[in-house]
């Protein structure tokens, strides 16, 4: 039975998910709308089990806007992944985006973050 059944007949996500050792490296290439963010969340959770991965690194450097919904979706994902035994680190939040998140009032502990890919991988312990 094929395991790689596409979850939805939508346009492909503008994001790539690479499996590297025990980690998943996710890089987002373009702005994602709410539906796509939720799809990414679902896909990743599924991959955690399928690839038996221990860590997820999400690179959001290409996102020029992280609003309350995106922040919440990422935070939820980190928590859900943790419940499945994987740690999540978000890297590449641009300075303007960071400033906006604070002004917006997103005070929830977003998730573990790191400056960039390198720092993120280090935190995941590769």
């Amino acid at each position: 039975m094929p395991t790689d059944v596409p979850t939805a007949p939508h346009v492909p996500l503008p994001a790539s998910i690479l499996s590297q050792g025990p980690n998943l490296i996710v890089s987002i290439h373009a702005a994602l709308d709410d539906e796509q963010l939720e799809r990414l969340q679902r896909d990743l959770l599924e991959r955690v089990g399928r690839d038996r991965c221990r860590g997820i690194l999400i690179d959001v450097a290409a996102l020029d806007v992280l609003d309350s919904f995106a922040a919440r979706t990422l935070a939820d994902l980190a928590y859900m992944a943790q419940l499945r035994g994987a740690r999540t680190v978000v890297v590449g939040i641009a300075p303007d985006v960071a400033m906006t998140l604070v002004r917006l009032g997103v005070r929830i502990p977003l998730t573990q973050t790191a400056l960039d890919l390198e720092e993120g991988l280090e935190w995941l312990g590769t």
Binding site: A71, T100, L104
Partner: protein
């Protein structure tokens, strides 16, 4: 020979073509008797050769010239034949107006008459006096005890109303509500103040008929609905992204820093999400504004959804109806300099927010 006559990097010039004249005379002369016509056609051929000689291989120029000449002669003969065949007809049928024209003209007259009928008596008299009887605005102003400027303005409004009524008559549309006519007239006359008073854009959002007619009105006049206003229809998740990207662009045009652009884009993202979540459809209108010499961006997000029963509660942090963070409205308010929310339960919600350059 031609190829020896010219040197250098320009393979052709007028001399080469002129050398062809005897050849052309022979080709054309063999087919046409009248020497004047021969000369005319040779000149016509030369003109064509001059414009195309650069594209032709020098060795093939002679053949090319001969073929061109033959074509010119053939065209001439065809023209002549047609003229001869039709010479017994008093009028060339190809020039006659199509039979439908009369009907269209008559229909048009009826539409204009119907449209004039709908105008107020004063507007009608003004238009007839100016457009039909040719009175100038100064004379009319003297008669009315007004100024030429005021008369011109009234004429312009009357014309705008006439455009609306003509369109309604021609499309055989009966406006579905009492608000349609005034809104369409305000749009047609580009009267911004009146449009605001009537909440024209709100009406266009609700009224399918008017939004189509408005497009037609502006198409006829060949100008966009409003200058510098970017309107993004919002009904799906993807529209939220479009709206915030447009917002960023407008903010960039206003000279905002990238971090201020991000604030504006994020605020738009928050409020347009509310449209998608709570209303069927709405729109985000983004425009550049100036006040006291300061440049700013104004965002008006409106929907025709259920409305918000208690705006004060909705603006409170953490109030969420869909398990969100509850930061949508209050968050957007914090990101912008001015924020106003008005909502009529059962009709819709409008959020107006502004960000100013500091």
């Amino acid at each position: 020979m031609a190829s020896e006559a010219v040197r250098g990097d320009q393979p052709y010039d007028e001399r080469v073509v002129v050398e062809l004249v005897p050849v052309l005379r022979r080709v054309v002369g063999a087919r046409i008797k009248d020497p004047h016509t021969v000369e005319d056609l040779v000149q016509e051929t030369l003109a064509r050769l001059m414009s195309s000689s650069r594209r032709v291989d020098p060795d093939k120029l002679h053949q090319y010239a001969a073929v061109t000449a033959r074509h010119v002669v053939a065209t001439y003969a065809e023209r002549n034949d047609r003229a001869r065949n039709r010479s017994h007809l008093l009028a060339d049928p190809s020039d006659a107006p199509p039979p439908t024209e009369d009907l269209l003209l008559q229909e048009d007259r009826e539409f204009v008459a119907a449209a004039l009928e709908r105008l107020s008596a004063e507007d009608r008299d003004l238009l007839v006096a100016h457009e039909v009887q040719g009175q100038d605005t100064t004379t009319m102003a003297a008669e009315l005890g007004s100024t030429p400027g005021a008369v011109a303005a009234r004429l312009s409004r009357a014309r705008a109303s006439l455009r609306v009524e003509y369109l309604l008559a021609a499309e055989a549309i009966d406006p579905p509500s009492d608000r349609c006519r005034p809104v369409l007239r305000a749009l047609s006359s580009s009267d911004r103040r009146r449009q605001r008073e009537l909440d024209a854009s709100g009406h266009l959002l609700e009224c399918e008929t008017c939004s189509q007619l408005a497009d037609r009105l502006f198409e006829r006049r060949g100008q966009p609905a409003e200058d510098g206003v970017v309107r993004v229809p919002v009904s799906r998740d993807a529209d939220v992204v479009t709206a915030r990207q447009q917002g960023r662009e407008v903010a960039a045009r206003a000279g905002f820093s990238t971090s201020a652009q991000t604030l504006v884009a994020t605020a738009i993202s928050e409020i347009s999400r509310n449209i998608v979540k709570f209303a069927d459809r709405g729109e985000v209108a983004i425009s550049l504004v100036t006040e006291d010499g300061r440049q700013g961006v104004r965002v008006v997000a409106r929907d025709v959804g259920p409305g918000i029963a208690d705006p004060d509660v909705a603006l409170r942090d953490g109030y969420s109806t869909y398990h969100g963070l509850g930061l949508g409205l209050p968050g957007a308010k914090r990101l912008m300099d001015r924020f106003h929310l008005s909502s009529v339960p059962g009709e819709g919600t409008t959020v107006t927010m502004e960000k100013w350059l500091t």
